[in-house]
């Protein structure tokens, strides 16, 4: 089976019913997407398929025909993506486990809405659970990233 992940074509031997999350983690060694619930209830496993935020724990790998981007594919040549840079500057993460998923959801939001309101953020990020409650900083980082992109 072939997958295109972060611009690279990879070959894996997976049962097509296997959730994309486990194909990425156990078969392709891509560890950015995290396992949190297995039922699309926490968002820790969020990746992009064709630029759209998707819970990889609840998508069968056999159904994925389009290009996948994980957190590993955001930064290029060691330069952080503006959203990651904003996350760093706001010092968002505590335990950090949900953050790859949070960042992928935020990137997808900002790709569609350049200057999101609080309501836009609530709607786009409500599926991403954070037990440390970095929420105030997540909100601030999304706004900072939007400002950075506008200024770029």
């Amino acid at each position: 089976m072939r997958l295109t992940v972060n611009g690279e074509v990879i070959e894996i031997d997976a049962d097509p019913e296997m959730p994309l999350l486990w194909a990425l983690r156990d078969l392709a060694g891509i560890m950015g997407p995290k396992f949190g619930c297995g039922i699309a209830a926490c968002g820790a496993c969020t990746v992009h398929i064709m630029g759209e935020a998707v819970r990889s724990c609840s998508v069968a790998v056999g159904d994925v025909k389009s290009e996948i981007t994980t957190i590993e594919g955001l930064s290029k040549d060691g330069t952080l993506h503006p959203v990651q840079q904003a996350w760093l500057e706001e010092q968002v993460a505590q335990c950090g486990y949900c953050q790859a998923g949070q960042i992928m959801s935020a990137v997808a939001l900002l790709n569609v809405v350049a200057d999101p309101t609080d309501d836009d953020i609530d709607n786009a990020m409500g599926g991403n659970l954070c037990r440390c409650s970095a929420y105030p900083k997540i909100r601030a980082a999304i706004k900072r990233a939007a400002a950075m992109k506008a200024g770029a």
């Binding site: 952080l80 760093l88 968002v92 505590q94 335990c95 409500g126 440390c132 409650s133």
Partner: protein
């Protein structure tokens, strides 16, 4: 209160029991320093000065932070303690957890274990702290809990940095042939300004470690600090925004197998009958292993990938034994209430004569209430997991855990290898909150590795297993009575609190060969140890005999005693016609630091100013883990339910080492408390947990999270903790706000059973 004689005797017995009879040589070991565990396993050209500092010839400086990084920032703040005295920036060091070792004992974790309020600095309380602190060292208990990391590390880790710097200076002086007094240090370099010559730490490290460590070093005055006291960039932030593989679930090893567990859904019960054939024949399954441990019994599935293991675990057919505890919520509640009226308790506070003061109280001057809170799961974002390999008689365990020396001890015993053949590799943790102080997930992985012919096995629990096999925050009930005087102030307060004992529960599953010791103060912590002066004031802790596993849930007993004590205080204020903030200030006059906290948070929230219709505020205060915390919540009635709009927090932590991390911890702790208060509970039917995943045990989401304003004070003369202190006042502040909004007093949690929230 207990006398010194009773306390020391009980404590010494506790020490003897925990040490397994090693007390006879205790004093000697207490005086003797533990060996530096870094001596083994140094890389080429790498030197170690003490258990906290390694420096390589290329000037790579590694600081060991031997505490669990579960989000609370220890890899930044503890590293800063060493870096401050070593004169290096946090951006120029590597931070490593290091091995499991007695040298990394935590003496603070036991020091506050006695039945004394934090503010009691009398001879008895201080003697207890000294004895218990010594016991922590004696036991070599390496652990992260009780919000102790910075308090425990504050002197020791600064001394480690200062001692290394002293040795580096002496070596540099010899190399440059100048007096050490003419040398300065900065950024990992020793500079001789007069001659313009310099050497890096790395260049003199090999000479420096041969110099005897100083017996005493001068530590910097606070005014000289460059790092401490200021917010630092977290040392783990870049890894966490790039999705780096730093967590337990990310461990990858050659030849690695994958696995999961399917444990008995009834605690302590064993499979009575099982059929593994269907599971065994599923694709990708390597082996199914029977697990029979002090933590639980069931099956481990070893497979070629995690998903195959999950599917096979689901396909295991088994009938499980009966529960030994009350099987459902009704029966549990009944058992707790029976304990409440028994005479089994210990009065942890007993000022004046409460019985007498209540006996002749006129009915209209008495306030009485019953309260109840449920079991709670930790629900860390990273489900329980560990990776283990048993090869050539050596057991390696990669475990996101809060207690490495206990993990080492228990895994060695379970697998049957000596402790010195066990290496515990502690990873970063996707949340901990006390759950990862347990050993179950490490032991299961170790036992499964025993069956894997030398190959490593990464064992990840499903979320369902994680929710259903926790060491829960205990359910608790309370019965409270107060007598008010003519002015409406309480002259008597009687609090009886019944709950299963976390200490007894932990002893049973972790050290079953020892018997539990003394009363468990955690049952009433947050109620018996608060800075209020009331003439007749009694708080009784009653252990309830319900054996569902319970443990340390962020702020432990304070998590529900905060709710009990502070909601009842609010009831007293209302009954006496006194403003709740004013009541606190009047009862706290003996503790000026507490009054300052109350005044600060009231000022921030503009307490007392009129609010628009449909909005209200609630107040609560809890002293826990040595920090004094006041919180005010503002709620608003909206068409979709009650919205938690804003929260103000003032906390006196004595000394703030990193204000930004402290603020993040206060908010994190508060939301942890709010999440539980609005919607979380673990309930039971037929001896089994009814909840299973985030759809029925959720936590606050971004759209529910209030805005925060935080103030950090440093008035008290002792440093307090940070990681748990935001949690205890959150639920009562919210419940009191809901009362102010609706006029309905809610005395059980979660509030969401009776109130609808946005």
């Amino acid at each position: 209160m207990a006398t010194l004689g009773q306390i020391t005797r009980r404590t010494l017995l506790a020490g003897a029991a925990l040490a397994g009879g090693g007390l006879a040589i205790g004093y000697y070991f207490y005086r003797k320093a533990y060996a530096n565990p870094l001596e083994e396993g140094l890389a080429e050209h790498e030197q170690t000065f003490n258990p906290y500092v390694k420096i390589a010839a290329d000037n790579t400086i590694t600081v060991i932070v031997p505490r669990a990084e579960m989000g609370q920032g220890v890899t930044t703040t503890l590293a800063a303690l060493v870096a401050e005295e070593l004169d290096v920036g946090l951006d120029s060091i590597k931070v490593d957890h290091g091995p499991a070792a007695y040298a990394y004992y935590n003496s603070e974790m036991l020091a506050e274990g006695g039945p004394f309020p934090f503010f009691n600095e009398g001879v008895v309380a201080e003697s207890m702290r000294t004895v218990m602190g010594a016991a922590g060292k004696l036991l070599g208990l390496q652990g992260t809990g009780g919000s102790t990391s910075t308090r425990d590390g504050f002197d020791r880790m600064r001394q480690a940095g200062a001692a290394a710097r002293h040795m580096l200076l002496a070596a540099a002086a010899a190399k440059l042939s100048v007096p050490a007094g003419e040398l300065e240090t900065a950024n990992g370099t020793v500079v001789h300004k007069a001659s313009g010559r310099s050497v890096t730490y790395g260049e003199v490290a090999a000479d420096a470690v041969r110099i005897e460590a100083p017996s005493a070093v001068r530590l910097k005055e606070r005014s000289e600090w460059r790092l401490l006291g200021q917010s630092q960039m977290r040392t783990d932030m870049r890894a966490k925004v790039t999705g780096a593989p730093i967590f337990g679930v990310d461990v990858s090893l050659p030849e690695m197998l994958y696995g999961t567990v399917r444990m008995s859904p009834r605690f302590w019960a064993k499979p009575m009958r099982d059929d593994l054939s269907k599971a065994q024949n599923m694709p990708g399954v390597v082996k199914i292993v029977r697990l029979d441990t002090d933590s639980g019994s069931g099956f481990g599935v070893i497979a070629k990938n995690t998903w195959a293991a999950f599917r096979a675990a689901e396909a295991i057919e088994a009938e499980w034994g009966d529960p030994e505890y009350p099987p459902d919520n009704e029966a549990i509640s009944k058992a707790l209430h029976e304990a409440l009226v028994s005479n089994d308790g210990t009065a942890l506070r007993n000022d004046g004569d409460t019985d007498k003061a209540l006996a002749d109280a006129p009915r209209d001057k008495v306030v009485e209430s019953d309260y109840e809170v449920p079991y709670l799961a930790h629900a860390c974002m990273e489900p329980m997991n560990a990776t283990a390999r048993l090869k050539d008689g050596v057991l390696d365990v990669w475990s996101p855990n809060q207690a490495p020396t206990i993990v080492r001890q228990v895994c060695a015993k379970a697998v049957g290898v000596p402790q010195d053949k066990v290496n515990v590799h502690t990873t970063y943790m996707g949340g901990g909150f006390g759950r990862r102080a347990e050993v179950d997930f490490s032991v299961y992985a170790a036992l499964m590795a025993k069956e894997a012919e030398g190959r490593p096995v990464k064992v990840i629990w499903t979320r369902e297993e994680d929710i259903r096999h926790d060491a829960y925050r205990p359910a608790a009930v309370g019965r409270f009575q107060a007598r008010l005087d003519e002015q409406g102030l309480p002259v008597a307060l009687d609090m009886k609190i019944a709950s299963p004992s976390p200490l007894a529960s932990i002893m049973r599953r972790t050290f079953p060969w020892l018997s539990p010791v003394g009363p468990d103060k955690s049952i009433a912590e947050g109620s018996f140890d608060q800075p209020y002066t009331i003439a007749n004031y009694r708080v009784t802790a009653i252990p309830a005999p319900v054996s569902i596993p319970v443990g340390f849930w962020r702020s432990v007993g304070n998590s529900y005693n905060g709710f009990f004590h502070e909601c009842f205080m609010d009831e007293i204020a209302v009954a006496g016609g006194i403003d709740p903030v004013d009541l606190r200030k009047r009862l706290m006059t003996d503790y000026p630091e507490a009054v300052k906290v109350v005044e600060k948070v009231a000022e921030m929230a503009k307490w007392g100013e009129a609010l628009p219709d449909g909005k209200a505020k609630g107040f609560a205060f809890t002293l826990s883990f040595g920090s004094w915390v006041g919180e005010i919540v503002q709620v608003a009635q909206t068409p979709g339910g009650i919205r938690i709009e804003k929260m103000w927090i003032a906390a006196d932590v004595g000394m703030a080492l990193d204000p930004a991390i402290l603020e993040a911890q206060l908010i994190s702790g508060a939301v942890f408390g709010l999440s539980a208060a609005i919607g979380q509970e673990i309930t039971f039917a037929d001896g089994m947990v009814e909840q299973s995943n985030f759809h029925d045990h959720d936590a606050m989401r971004i759209y529910q999270c209030p805005q925060f304003e935080v103030a950090i004070l440093e008035n008290y003369h002792k440093m307090g903790g940070a990681g748990e202190i935001g949690t205890p006042p959150a639920a009562p502040a919210l419940a009191n706000a809901v009362f102010a909004l609706t006029g309905n007093r809610h005395r059980r949690l979660p509030l969401g059973k009776d109130v609808s929230f946005v």
